[in-house]
Chain length 121, copies 2
DNA sequence: GATTCATTTCAAATCTTGTTGTATTGTCGA
DNA sequence: TCGACAATACAACAAGATTTGAAATGAATC
């Protein structure tokens, strides 16, 4: 992933409401949730939710499918995994010895065995 | 890591300049860089850099040390690793089967062997 | 086709962020 | 102490984000 691509993802996650929203959709994967249910669960007005849904959707972190008069939203977990990979490589590339002094894959997460990241072994 | 703690980190990373800044400091770990050098490398005015340094410093993603009349900044790699762990667990907790259909640690990153995440094996 | 319901769109108000130039603070060397 | 330099602080402005309620859109039910 390119840095230019990562910035809008961080923007999308840089609001408490949107982070809760994404986590909620991860929790409800793979079925997802319709907008009305999300609004109820987050306790915010529908129009405000719509604003945040549009923001995070535009970033690509969620997907939407029409179901009659409902709109069903789902977390784009693959993209999140790409983002995590980006962060991981940006943390270690060129500086394996600086990965927290760990030799077990930048210590990410605990229990990771050696050989996880090419630059970190 | 708590969600409340993660939000300011995403805020800190949600600007192209600050993401470049953090990556620059990772690249120059563990020596870090002084403010003037960062400003030159990023090609932005000192006062603007100071604004972004304050933002990302307040989030905790970098540290600062006084060296005479210089201020030396370093990336807080441990915190980044915590953030990555948070993202990883938030992506998978309770829904191992949704981790991109992978059984090799949410496919993060390529080469990860099984047993990485408790919820993903 | 009229009504109901889910959702978005819109406009307005407010708040926050980002940028720039200038001024200030603090440190070093002569 | 003085001048030069590193860096931040401040003020002002521009630009963008967030929130809300009301109105509009579109689909299901009767």
């Amino acid at each position: 992933m390119e840095t230019k691509r990562a910035v809008p993802l961080f923007e999308a996650l840089s609001s408490g409401i949107r982070l809760d929203l994404f986590r909620l959709l991860v929790k409800h994967a793979p079925d997802g949730l319709v907008a009305g249910d999300i609004a109820k669960l987050l306790g915010i007005p529908a129009s405000n939710l719509s604003f945040h849904l549009k923001t995070i959707l535009h970033a690509g972190l969620i997907t939407v499918d029409k179901e009659g008069k409902f709109l069903r939203y789902r977390a784009n977990i693959s993209l999140m995994i790409e983002l995590i990979s980006y962060l991981t490589s940006e943390c270690c590339t060129g500086n394996p010895e600086q990965c927290g002094g760990r030799r077990d894959g930048c210590g990410l997460p605990s229990g990771i065995s050696s050989g996880i990241l090419p630059d970190c072994t």
